[in-house]
């Protein structure tokens, strides 16, 4: 019953976010919101940017790539020199080169895959000044790309798609900072840490137990980690750690924050292209897939864990509790992890690796659909719009006319760019997984044996290439091999989709609008929603079914077998 009411509350919160945050974001990117101009203007002055000057898609993309490159470098430098910098009460040493490189790329690409334990690796300055900064910045980059692509649809005969520096700055100052600011206060009130005091040592006289408790500025990072669909935990246990996610309320807040911007962007999209119904159609496709995967995950985790049953506990009333926190229970845990994997956040409040086979199937394959249901901030909507182009193209093939989407003719260039945008992810995931399972350095990493060990490897490359960041965390991936090879997935999964998306924005913006006629395929009707869902599922299933069969599916089918 708890899950039903939680979902009802979630729908209410998201409906409000969809309508009002969606409306507000459209106003922000159309330059109609100015309340923070006093902070915004100095930014432009420092950068030497004229906020009104628009860029072609090539200049927009170049600005984005160079900025992301410098951001990787800046993050890397802070991690490599943290021992000499302030806010390091634990006197932690500099992060090693391969790990610092992996972490810098991971945070700049909005992934937050973590090959380290925060509590024993990162100084407070690294957490606040390197990692949390990228949580804001990479999220804003994602939304900027989405808005640029939306402008491609909404403009006619335009050579430009906006200004990267303006979009980047406005997303941070008007959207991410205010919401995070309030979110962090709620996290603190509920029990999340927010201190610069170092670890404390306690001795409990009742039981004679000694403990060293790490602390840090957690709440401020927690809020943006969820809102920006980043997902990197302050501590190793991430959202399972009581200092990050202390109560049922913060668990709900986390889920709401993860979903707010990706869901609201469908309203922003509808608003900017002049038809809210178009946004509703996209949201409907997202919701139907998300709902189905949530059902798989929640039902799976509500079942007993087969290993616990085999050990002799035959009467389990609470579902699979291995790797889960008592204060959340089985279904709230499954809800959090399904949301986190389908928003490209990747934070976890329970151990994915210990999920039942179909629970792990839900979190892993949720990412394999390309992180579009609703996907990460910005990346969700720009990726699903790429799928929408494929959908109208297939629809056009069926009836034999030139496809259109939102009044723009979809021609060879657009279809090629969209195909590139959809295929980069699966190809990268499968090739990197194939490499890892064929070499010794890749084979030795899994903790679990049998199909579950293969799942750990497959999950890792699915996660990094979809810029998710969650893990089947038994994988020992803080090795030179994984630290380096994962960055190929991280970079390709981010930029090899952003560049086609911006190129699409450019070619679409330059086109004129074809007036709708009787023969136009309506993209705000259920039939389009069905077609879009079909395209997403078919692309995902065709590319990943063989690999998934070797992992979660065979594991589900091996009744009574243990490895």
């Amino acid at each position: 019953m708890g899950l039903v009411w939680t979902l009802v509350a979630l729908v209410v919160v998201l409906a409000i976010a969809w309508r009002f945050l969606g409306h507000y974001m459209a106003a922000v990117y159309e330059g109609r919101v100015k309340w923070a101009a006093f902070i915004e203007r100095p930014f432009y002055r420092l950068m030497g940017v004229n906020p009104e000057a628009e860029q072609s898609w090539q200049r927009y993309a170049a600005s984005l790539i160079v900025f992301s490159g410098i951001a990787i470098l800046a993050t890397y430098l802070i991690l490599r020199t943290q021992a000499y910098l302030p806010f390091n009460p634990q006197h932690l040493p500099n992060v090693t080169p391969a790990l610092a490189w992996n972490t810098a790329v991971s945070f700049v690409t909005n992934t937050n895959w973590q090959n380290y334990s925060g509590e024993t690796t990162m100084s407070y300055l690294s957490q606040m000044g390197a990692l949390a900064v990228q949580n804001f910045v990479s999220a804003s980059v994602g939304i900027a790309v989405a808005v640029a692509l939306i402008r491609g649809f909404s403009r006619k005969g335009s050579k430009t798609i906006g200004n990267f520096w303006t979009d980047l700055t406005r997303g941070i100052l008007y959207i991410l900072v205010p919401i995070s600011f309030i979110g962090a206060v709620i996290f603190m009130a509920q029990g999340a840490l927010q201190t610069l005091g170092g670890p404390v040592h306690i001795h409990d006289v009742l039981n004679g137990f000694n403990q060293t408790i790490p602390r840090g500025p957690v709440a401020s990072q927690e809020a943006i980690k969820q809102l920006g669909t980043n997902g990197g935990g302050f501590f190793n246990a991430n959202g399972a750690d009581p200092f990050e996610n202390p109560t049922g309320l913060t668990n709900f807040l986390s889920i709401s924050l993860m979903l707010s911007i990706p869901v609201a962007l469908t309203y922003t999209f509808g608003k900017m292209v002049g038809s809210i119904r178009q946004g509703v159609a996209i949201l409907a496709a997202m919701t139907i897939i998300f709902g189905s995967w949530l059902a798989i995950g929640a039902i799976a985790e509500h079942q007993a864990n087969p290993a616990v049953t085999a050990a002799g506990l035959t009467h389990q009333t609470t579902g699979n509790m291995e790797g889960k926190e008592v204060r959340f229970g089985d279904t709230s845990s499954a809800l959090y992890n399904v949301v986190s994997t389908q928003t490209s956040t990747g934070s976890v409040n329970s151990a994915n690796d210990s999920y039942n086979p179909m629970g792990g199937f839900a979190t892993m394959t949720g990412m394999m659909l390309g992180e579009v249901t609703p996907g990460g901030v910005g990346s969700g909507i720009y990726t699903i719009l790429i799928y929408a182009i494929i959908a109208v193209f297939i629809g056009g093939l069926m009836v034999g006319r030139t496809p259109e989407y939102l009044g723009k003719k979809i021609q060879a260039t657009e279809v090629k760019l969209a195909a590139l945008g959809t295929l980069v992810m699966p190809i990268t995931v499968l090739i990197l997984t194939a490499i890892a399972v064929s070499v010794h350095a890749g084979q030795v990493a899994p903790l679990n044996k049998g199909p579950h060990g293969f799942s750990e490897i497959l999950y890792s490359f699915t996660s990094v290439t979809n810029n998710n960041g969650s893990a089947f965390a038994g994988l020992s991936s803080n090795t030179a091999f994984y630290n380096i090879i994962q960055t190929f997935g991280l970079l390709l999964g981010r930029f090899a989709i952003i560049i086609p998306a911006l190129a699409l924005a450019g070619t679409l913006a330059a086109k004129n609008v074809v007036p709708a006629s009787l023969g136009t395929f309506r993209t705000d009707k259920p039939i389009f929603v069905g077609l879009l869902i079909g395209v997403i599922l078919i692309v995902g299933a065709l590319t990943f079914f063989p690999a998934v069969s070797l992992g979660p599916i065979v594991e589900q089918l091996s009744h009574g077998k243990f490895f």
Partner: protein, 176 residues
């Protein structure tokens, strides 16, 4: 190109100052001023109520079989078809039965954080007889103590009911 690089460097420095220093430090100020108990780790004289501890011996209510090392948080990551997990849980079931405690899910499985401060109400009730016997207390009194330490889901539906082991054992210590 050079313009892009210069702008990127300036932007990184400006964002570092605003997002990496001002934002978290202002939040820290707010936390220390308004929620200093929570922001500093919910510390009591016996430890943090949010970080579980190891309780040994029949005189105390026990938590989950976690490692309880907050400097190395995380779950075991053992999968649902892991022989190691079967063996670990078998060991926990045997240990509980030896202490006269009926095993429940939360008492034989480890958590996601490795420092779960809570057990389920059924896990607490399962220990009542053993604790009452070891302390020479009436069973009804110990049962009453457990009942008064159950925290329900927030607003009645967010999360699950739980019992905080540190608070329960603190209350238990005060009984006699």
């Amino acid at each position: 190109m050079l313009t892009h690089i210069r702008r990127s460097i300036v932007a990184c420095i400006a964002f570092f100052a605003v997002l990496g220093l001002i934002y978290p430090l202002v939040e820290t100020g707010i936390g220390q001023a308004l929620f200093s108990h929570q922001a500093n780790g919910s510390l009591t004289p016996y430890g943090s109520t949010l970080i579980g501890q190891k309780w040994t011996g029949p005189k105390w209510f026990q938590g989950r079989p976690d490692a309880y090392n907050p400097m190395a948080t995380g779950g075991t990551n053992l999968g649902p078809r892991s022989k190691t997990l079967v063996a670990d849980v078998t060991k926990q079931i045997a240990r509980l039965k030896k202490d006269g405690i009926k095993p429940t899910s939360s008492l034989v499985t480890t958590s996601g954080s490795g420092v779960d401060p809570d057990i389920s109400p059924s896990g607490a009730y399962a220990q009542v007889d053993a604790v009452a016997k070891a302390r020479g207390l009436p069973v009804s009194e110990v049962k009453q103590l457990v009942a008064s330490n159950i925290t329900g889901p927030e607003f009645g539906f967010l999360g699950s009911s739980y019992v905080n082991v540190l608070k329960l054992d603190e209350a238990l210590a005060k009984l006699k």
